[in-house]
Symmetry: C2
Subunit: 561 residues, 2 copies
């Protein structure tokens, strides 16, 4: 592509409403442009990257034998009602009516339609297994779109769905996708971790996430310093290292603590550590109030809480609810005398004589023991902390942040059962089909790559997804020798199969170099003063210096590169 004949622009300044490195760099490089909150135009240069990402995904999907199709986005609302997911998605789903007042939604994910597509009369076990996929636009009405392409409301996803007759078959189909995913993310040069993740309240047998590691990530990836354990914070088990306390039980004491409401204030008041304090958190879970007891230095893991209660929604109770339940100001909740179910973290079992709120404004209780209140359930409901020990090898855990670029999910028979997808087994009996689902966010990959591959000058695209393989800069467009050589190079390199950008604009060389760095092509070739001798300058995007070489040397160099 020749820039002189093209639509091309870059922005010198940082983009004000972009709150991430990738969003800012992609916008500045003229690759994306915001259309409305969480909705982007993918501009021509970005489209080239997106195509390359899609091609990598499509090639690896086709290699597994998966077959591509295309589902609509406009889906009857009843389809999600039938599967029981309309409510689960709630206002995350865009809903609309057609001119006949019929209810539709914009598909956020397509388990339902694929299940329906797979329905064919008289399907026999011999027709399995198969895997279908699409590269298609999804819609989710995110509460807070952010981080450029990372959390958006309209985006392209590769989603695939496997169909098997039994769990062994599912495992084979799952592993094919799983291995294809590793190839895909490796080809994109992403630094990622594969972590076990939550299978959700709706059931499901196994969920794994591909987390691209970077600071901006919204997921916490828990790793072991020593072994290869890796898990999403949401589901990581806390290994209780405490031993039963042998302290003698002491009598409960009511203590006035007028200015101590936070854990820190209470600990300071009593002159003790946070972990000698038991905090009581009031939550509303699927509409019902619960109290959760945790050591003072722990946080509630909401995913674990939901799973324990087989619920869909959890949120901190509002002030009014807390004050009604505790009959006290917020900040003084405790387990004794509460009329709502109390759920206790496992780590409290070994404690004695701890401090809790008194359910009385400006008061706490000292020397509380488990025998003093009623417990509805005891379980591991806390989030792990850095330094907690690895559930596999016992060494300390460390945290990194990740962007979920892909996930793989053994669904089992959930959708087949709710929507009626069956096959005839060898005995001519109807059985539910066993499914898996697998997703990759295409724009999110693009953003994650930029988050991981950039410097102060701009983007550093991996070769596999760079918008062009290389860029030729004509230093002085008025110098005919330079222009001629550049054109010759451009045509010859294109013939050799390279995707080449030629910057033949009437701009100063400095502007062209800056643009080339910002848009992040792997190799820059400058056709400058020594053009008469057939000498050009070559510079890899990450190198500090140019290398002078002849055109012949360049061809050899590129073959090696």
């Amino acid at each position: 592509m020749k820039l002189s004949n093209s639509y091309f622009y870059t922005l010198r300044e940082n983009v004000k409403d972009e709150d991430s490195t990738s969003g800012n760099l992609l916008a500045r490089a003229g690759m994306i442009k915001k259309s409305s909150a969480g909705v982007y135009m993918i501009m021509p240069l970005g489209m080239k990257v997106l195509h390359k990402i899609e091609t990598i995904i499509r090639e690896e999907m086709d290699n597994t034998g998966a077959q591509e199709l295309l589902m609509p986005s406009l889906i009857l609302e009843e389809v999600y009602e039938n599967s029981g997911r309309r409510e689960a998605f709630g206002s995350n789903m865009f809903a609309l009516k057609d001119r006949f007042q019929k209810n539709y939604v914009l598909g956020p994910t397509h388990e339902e339609l694929f299940t329906m597509a797979a329905m064919m009369k008289g399907r026999s076990y011999k027709d399995f297994p198969y895997t279908l996929y699409q590269i298609q636009t999804k819609y989710r009405d995110e509460t807070r779109p952010r981080f450029g392409l990372i959390r958006v409301r309209e985006f392209i996803m590769k989603d695939s769905y496997s169909f098997d007759t039994d769990l062994d078959g599912l495992h084979v189909s799952y592993m094919k996708m799983f291995n294809a995913y590793k190839k895909i993310f490796d080809r994109m040069d992403l630094n990622y971790k594969i972590v076990k993740a939550d299978t959700g309240a709706m059931g499901g047998l196994l969920s794994e996430e591909f987390q691209a590691l970077c600071e901006i990530g919204e997921d916490v990836v828990v790793n072991c310093e020593h072994c290869d354990f890796s898990s999403n914070l949401e589901i990581t088990e806390v290994i209780d290292q405490s031993v039963p306390s042998t302290e003698p039980y002491q009598d409960i004491e009511l203590v006035a603590t007028p200015n101590a409401k936070t854990i820190e204030e209470v600990a300071a008041f009593f002159g003790c550590q946070a972990d000698q304090f038991v905090k009581t958190l009031i939550y509303r879970v699927d509409g019902k109030l619960y109290a959760f007891l945790l050591k003072g230095n722990r946080e509630l893991n909401e995913t674990k809480a939901l799973k324990l209660l087989k619920a869909n929604e959890i949120e901190l109770a509002n002030f009014e609810d807390v004050e009604t339940v505790t009959k006290a100001k917020v900040g003084f909740a405790g387990p004794i005398g509460l009329s709502i179910p109390v759920i206790m973290d496992q780590e409290i079992v070994n404690m004695r004589n701890f401090i809790t709120g008194a359910n009385q404004s400006d008061h706490h209780l000292k020397n509380v023991n488990i025998k003093d209140f009623e417990v509805y359930k005891t379980a591991d409901i806390a989030s792990v902390k850095e330094g907690d020990i690895c559930p596999v090898c016992g060494k300390p855990l460390v945290f990194t942040k990740g962007i979920e670029v892909g996930n793989t999910f053994k669904l089992g028979t959930k959708y087949a059962k709710s929507l009626g997808l069956e096959y005839l087994d060898a005995d001519n009996k109807l059985q539910p089909v066993v499914m898996g689902s697998y997703g990759i966010g295409c724009e999110r990959c693009m953003a994650a790559i930029v988050e991981q591959h950039n410097d102060e000058h701009g983007i550093i695209w991996p070769k596999s997804v760079a918008p062009f393989d290389l860029g030729i800069v004509v230093a002085n467009i008025k110098d005919e020798t330079q222009v001629k050589l550049a054109e010759k190079l451009y045509n010859q390199l294109k013939q050799q199969g390279y995707d080449v950008l030629l910057d033949d604009r009437k701009e100063r060389p400095g502007v062209k170099f800056k643009d080339m760095e910002l848009i992040g092509l792997p190799i820059r070739i400058t056709v400058g003063k020594r053009s008469g001798e057939g000498i050009i300058e070559v510079r890899e995007r990450t190198a500090d210096e140019n290398q002078e070489m002849s055109v012949e040397e360049l061809y050899a160099y590129l073959k090696q590169a």
Copy 2:
């Protein structure tokens, strides 16, 4: 692709709710599946066709130097309000609110967003021309989706937009697209006509349509028997061949016509031809009532009427309105004494002593003349009929029906002006950008190809878009010699670059042959009884008989084919 390992199905019976040949055949061939009214799933075999269609379009677009990008479908409603098109689209546009009650629509076409994308500060005339395109999903809330993929509510469109500094530039950009379109539709083997079409009430300089000719088409393509004149019925000029009547004026007579309401009945009553009668049609145009006068044998051309009145919407007035205006039952409207504007077709100018309704129930008037009533406008407002004469050469016109698969449009400065897209000219003055827009309906092409290429056995895909280049049928899957030869052929042909389907299912040969004909691959290779000798049977989709040949002969044959 081997069918034994694939998701594959066909339907023996016609599909009940498909009202077109293409819809029925595509559904039966397992290429599409209806999801809801006017919304389809493109199934794997159909996806292969759609990809080939998209590839042809993409290649020809790229050849013109157009650059691909991708716009969102979710668009702020205000974007269309700003351009003045929100009202024009009306309920054809799907509208929705996000969780913050902000108004969005699903894009039916993207002039606005492309105009906005093209806005960059300080654009100079030197940055032009350029053309941008996308292959992207569109949404239109059609009143009556029908004919399979031909009139749907969600579909993929290639839309491109050209940006120039003046009309000469626009013409060059336009012709590039126009010529690319011819290549595209030629490559798809479509039989089409290019016709002049309406530029709409909103202005625009030139509109041409690419009409794939077939019976099911919703557009009427007007052709000349003699010259190459071709035009959409909507805008074809009626050449008035009448000469001024020299009959003496006679006195108006009120005639009781109790049982004559239709043109035929009135003509029979008076013993005259329909063209001696002038009919009066009451329409509501942008909310206001008008009377249109036409010869009894003519129909009103609504496009011409809209254009004449510079209006957006036209519909027949309801019975109540007609009765109020005419002070009579429906069926007796006439021009004399009407209080609404009367618009008269040009052909009436030369008439004398004609019959009209009397604006009195069960009565008509004889010997009416133009001098007897007031005319607001006289113009060509009638639709041409077959047999009318060609505006270019005077020979008779003939009609064919067409499906609009593409259109090209010189927009001019309409969007640039309404949305503020300007450039700095050589004198550093701001000027509006001159735009063109160009569309191709991808699924509609697929349907039009099937409408034109089928027989009683199924689809006959042109080579350029067939889901596979050829299909190999193993006659007897239990015969090891056959299976071995078929596998060998399959692998070798794939290595030679052919896209091959291998039917290795455990089915009777008759079933396999029928399926192969239904899905319409250009060439079928049967590996049967003479496999031991290395002899196979070859049959083109349109041939009546097999040709026996050796494998070597096959390779030579395919190279020629």
